[in-house]
Structures are given as structure tokens and as C-alpha cells.
């Protein structure tokens, strides 16, 4: 079931789109913002709420990289691996993150604190290498700076 708050938030988005279907990405983001991820049940609930088939919602939910279909950690690390960050050695950063968190890409640390994901170019190439943690961009990274940054997210 979508909560009252979720329903209100989705309803608030509808006016901006000519057809209800246009609100699907926002609806997915609204649910994810409150629950951390989007379950199959949530997909069905959104479909019911917007008068769509579950497939119409699922095809969107499975397409966009930032819609999580599995539970994630309390914080999500998005490490850029595109060309400018690759040239400035994001590979070393990836190895460091994997070792420190004890995870591979796409996995969540045992304490449930971090999920590590690769991401395409974050548009801060002049400050490469970069990553995002939740909504925050972190630039000009080194392994030491990553350690400092991670300590800020409990």
C-alpha cells in the first residue's frame, strides 16, 4: 500500500504531465526516497494508483539506473568510471573502496552502511576523479580523501 504521504506527493506531480504515465518516474522516486528502494509490490501499488498496468511501471523501474530494485545500504556511493575519471585513475579508487568496504560493485557492505555502484560521467570532469555519496558530490579524490569522506556518513 502507498502511504497517504506518498499518494499526496504523487498526486502533486500529476499536473505537470499531460498523461498520468508521465508521473511514473517521479512516483518511483517518491517511493524510493521514503523506503530506500522499489519493491515489486510498490511497482504494483504505483500502477494501481495511476491506473496503469504493472508492466508499464516495471518497464520504467527496470530501465533507469537510479531506481533501485533491491534494498541498498544506508548510503549509496556512486563512483564515476567514465573516461576523464579513468584517466585520472578511478581504478585505484575502486580497488580501495572495494577493499575497505569488503564488497564488489553492486554490493552492500556487511554492516548495511554503504552500497557501491559505478556510475556514468557525473559532469565534473575538470575535478576528476569524482564520486557521489547520496546527494553529495565529492571531487579531486584520493584514497586518503575517500577515507575522510566515508567517515562522515554513519
Amino acid at each position: 500500500m502507498l502511504s497517504e504521504q506518498e499518494q499526496d506527493a504523487i498526486r502533486g506531480e500529476l499536473a505537470r504531465y499531460a498523461l498520468k504515465r508521465g508521473a511514473v518516474p517521479e512516483a518511483l522516486k517518491i517511493v524510493q526516497a521514503r523506503r530506500g528502494w522499489v519493491s515489486d509490490e510498490a511497482v504494483r501499488d504505483i500502477a494501481d494508483f495511476l491506473g496503469l498496468t504493472p508492466e508499464e511501471v516495471d518497464e520504467v523501474a527496470t530501465y533507469y539506473c537510479l531506481v533501485f530494485r533491491r534494498p541498498v545500504g544506508r548510503h549509496v556511493i556512486l563512483l564515476c568510471d567514465s573516461v576523464s575519471c579513468w584517466i585520472t585513475d578511478c581504478e585505484t579508487l575502486r580497488e580501495h573502496l572495494c577493499r575497505r568496504l569488503g564488497v564488489g560493485l553492486g554490493e552492500t557492505s556487511g554492516d548495511g552502511r554503504f552500497t557501491l555502484l559505478p556510475v556514468a560521467c557525473l559532469g565534473a570532469c575538470d575535478k576528476a576523479p569524482v564520486m557521489m555519496v547520496d546527494d553529495d558530490l565529492h571531487v579531486e579524490l584520493t584514497t586518503e580523501k575517500i577515507d575522510e569522506v566515508l567517515d562522515r556518513y554513519r
Binding site: E59, Y64, C121
Partner: protein, 424 residues
């Protein structure tokens, strides 16, 4: 040197506030536009030769001229700012939106007036959180001051403008994919014709322009088409351009220069050349979807025509520089991994071809390259091309590979012959 796009930006990284924007002639372009007919505005932009800054270089005025006008035109019509910046190596639209959000809004309102649009969207990339906050605030301010909403500045023209934040996919930056994404579907390319200008968002006439393109529009209206055209060198393509450099250069960054500044001016004068101890090898002039160029091209003007004649493309104008200590095959792995991951899967050459290219390159880099790999890569470069796929993602993916196979062929051969990456 005139810097219409960035000249009024603040030094402290904060956005230009509305009062400061207005004091620096902000929204004067809109005021002028509203005194002209929509067709006259279109003609001004056409005369200014404003070529699309998202990479394709299509004439903005010409695009607008395809929108049906007059009493019989279908409504609602839409204008969309493509702010889904995701071309690897590109960070110019982020800067424009974070530092001066009203400039984009003014450009969008003028464009909307010129094509008679009823609604406009900023299609913003999810990762641009600061830009989202600043745009949302600027939109609210613009409504409050009567630049948006009913009867803009007392005229008979009305416009609603919305901020849409995407959920992340390179395909959303492709104009048709963007329309699908906005309609709440999987982003896949559409067969053309019909073009978006007649049948776009929800089947209605729609103009999609890049952020930087729209940011140029107020300056055309304010200073006149002729003045805008003369901002550039050569006078065939109007305006200034946001150029950039990343990679292991001394001063990575972004700079506004006359359109047509040379490769060398951006690389040497702005970016300061390579960091100490590194030598220049090649560069991608306009993001991942452009062909490498080399030192022999330092004198080539970075405009659409000249870069095309040099065998590459201007693309987004933000160069990615490759040094002599970085493995070119490794760079190609990173590039093709990106393209393969971002393929939407609609067209077979892209869905099947790009992962194959990626695996071959990964194998080479690991030391598992085989005789004949180069031939397979050559085949892909030859066959994955424009009009074999619905959109330009896969042909774009072949551009850096095609040029790398030409300029770095010996490096590829060494990977195969020595069964290892010589840079490791």
C-alpha cells in the same frame, strides 16, 4: 574579449541572483522579443547562425522554423531544455545552470514565445542536485516577477515552465529518448519522420534544445543577430562557446571563448598543456562521441565545420586529453564500457555490437587478446554507422574507436603480441 554567457557570473560559486541578473540587462532580451512577432524572433535567431551546442550542431533557428504556427497549429506545443548532460568528459551545462539559472530560463521563455509553446520543461539530470535547487528557486522567482505564467510582462503570451528531474540514463539525452522519458516510458529512439518539431511530446509539436544553445538566445535578442554572429571567428557560425579540458592537463576547467578558437588555444593557453612529466598524445575534442585528433590539429578552429573537415566533430567542445603515460586501449575500454552499458537495446548493432567490442578490448587489456581481434574491431567500426541504427549512440561509440585504431594501432598490436598491457 566579450563573454556574454559567463561574464556576469560570480566568483564565489554562488548563482547570479535575480536582481543582479536584471541589473546586468537580464530579461531585456525577453522584453525585446515580446515586442516582435514570433516569426521575427525566429528570423533573428536564424540570422545569428546559432548552431546546437549539445553536439549535433543543428541550426536552432531552422529547427524552430519547422514548428507549425498560426491558428491551425496543434496545441499544446512544448519547448524542452535538454539538461541531461551525460556525455563523458562534458561539464559545461552544469556550470551554466549552477552559476546563472535565469539566463537559461530567459532563453527558454524567448524560445517558447518564438514557437508559440504553451509549456516548457527543463529536463535535468538527476545528479545535478545544486542545479536543481537553483533552477527551482529561479523558476519561482520568475513566476513571481511575471516572466512566467499568465500574460508575461503584460503581453498576451502565457507560458508554464516545469523542472523535470530524470532518473538516469544516457539515452535520455537523445532527443527522442528524452521525450519517452518525459512521457514516463523507457527511453528508446523513434523512427523519423515525423520529427519532434511536428510530432514530439505526447504527439504535439516540440522543440528540444541544449542548455548552452538556449543560454545564447537572450544575447541574440538583446544585442542583435549581427553582433552575435560577430562574437565568433569566421562569421559562419555565431556566438561564443564554452570550451573545456579534462584529463591530466595542468589546469582542467571551462572557458568561454569566441566560437572558432583553435584546439591549441584551448589546450595550451587555457588548460596550460600537460602536467609536468607527461607528454601529449591525442584528445577527444567534444566528449566520448568524437574522434581523437592529434598534435597536427592544434591549429584547427574548434567550430562545427572545421572540426568536421579535420575528421572529427566539435561535439560538446569539452576536450578529454590523453597523455603518453595512459594506456590508449584502457581508455577505449572505459569508453566502450560506458556505451555498452548505456545502450537502450532497441537496435541490434548497438545491443549486440557494443558489448562485443567491449569484451574484445577488455580481453586485450587483460592480456588475453587474440590474432584477428583488430579485424573484428575494424568490422564493427565499418558496419555500425549512421542509418544502421535509429539513433547516434552506437555510431558515436565507434568514433573514438575508429580514430584510436588509426592513431594507436601499434599500441593495440603490442597488447595482442605481448599478451599484456605494456603500461602496467
Amino acid at each position: 574579449m566579450e563573454k556574454p554567457l559567463t561574464g556576469r557570473m560570480r566568483g564565489d560559486g554562488e548563482a547570479v541572483e535575480l536582481p543582479a541578473y536584471e541589473r546586468a540587462d537580464g530579461y531585456q532580451g525577453l522584453r525585446r522579443a515580446l515586442k516582435l512577432s514570433p516569426r521575427e524572433v525566429q528570423e533573428q535567431v536564424r540570422a545569428a547562425k546559432l548552431l546546437g551546442r549539445g553536439g549535433a550542431g543543428f541550426d536552432a533557428g531552422e529547427k524552430w522554423a519547422h514548428v507549425p504556427m498560426g491558428d491551425d497549429a496543434p496545441h499544446p506545443k512544448y519547448v524542452i531544455a535538454n539538461a541531461d548532460e551525460m556525455e563523458p568528459g562534458t561539464m559545461k551545462d552544469r556550470w551554466l545552470m549552477e552559476a546563472d539559472p535565469h539566463q537559461l530560463l530567459e532563453g527558454m521563455i524567448i524560445a517558447s514565445y518564438a514557437v508559440g509553446a504553451d509549456a516548457a520543461y527543463v529536463f535535468l539530470r538527476w545528479a545535478y542536485k545544486t542545479a536543481a535547487k537553483r533552477l527551482a528557486r529561479a523558476i519561482a522567482e520568475a513566476y513571481e516577477k511575471g516572466y512566467l505564467g499568465r500574460n508575461i510582462l503584460g503581453s498576451s503570451y502565457s507560458l508554464e515552465l516545469y523542472l523535470h528531474t530524470s532518473a538516469g540514463r544516457y539515452m535520455c539525452g537523445e532527443a527522442d529518448g528524452l521525450l519517452d522519458a518525459l512521457e514516463g516510458k523507457r527511453a528508446v529512439p523513434r523512427s523519423k519522420p515525423p520529427f519532434a518539431t511536428t510530432c514530439g511530446l505526447w504527439g504535439k509539436p516540440t522543440v528540444v534544445n541544449n542548455v548552452e544553445t538556449l543560454c545564447c538566445v537572450p544575447h541574440i535578442l538583446r544585442g542583435g543577430a549581427d553582433r552575435f554572429l560577430k562574437l565568433s571567428r569566421g562569421g559562419k557560425e555565431g556566438g561564443t562557446k564554452i570550451y573545456g579540458a579534462s584529463g591530466r592537463v595542468k589546469r582542467p576547467g571551462l572557458w568561454e571563448l569566441p566560437l572558432g578558437a583553435t584546439v591549441g588555444e584551448v589546450f595550451h593557453d587555457c588548460a596550460g598543456g600537460m602536467r609536468d612529466g607527461l607528454a601529449f598524445r591525442a584528445l577527444l575534442p567534444g566528449g566520448a562521441s568524437s574522434d581523437f585528433i592529434t598534435a597536427e590539429h592544434f591549429d584547427v578552429p574548434m567550430d562545427f565545420g572545421s572540426m568536421g573537415r579535420a575528421g572529427s566533430r566539435l561535439g560538446t567542445g569539452t576536450m578529454v586529453v590523453l597523455d603518453d603515460r595512459t594506456c590508449p586501449v584502457g581508455v577505449l575500454v572505459s569508453l566502450e564500457r560506458f556505451f555498452a552499458r548505456e545502450s537502450c537495446g532497441w537496435c541490434t548493432p548497438c545491443r549486440e555490437g557494443l558489448p562485443w567490442v567491449r569484451s574484445i578490448l577488455e580481453a586485450m587489456e587483460r592480456g588475453d587478446g587474440r590474432e584477428g581481434d583488430l579485424d573484428v574491431l575494424d568490422d564493427h567500426v565499418r558496419t555500425i554507422k549512421m542509418h544502421h541504427t535509429f539513433c547516434t549512440l552506437a555510431p558515436g561509440a565507434m568514433m573514438p574507436l575508429r580514430s584510436a585504431l588509426r592513431y594507436f594501432r601499434d599500441d593495440f598490436r603490442r597488447h595482442v603480441a605481448e599478451k599484456r598491457c605494456p603500461w602496467r
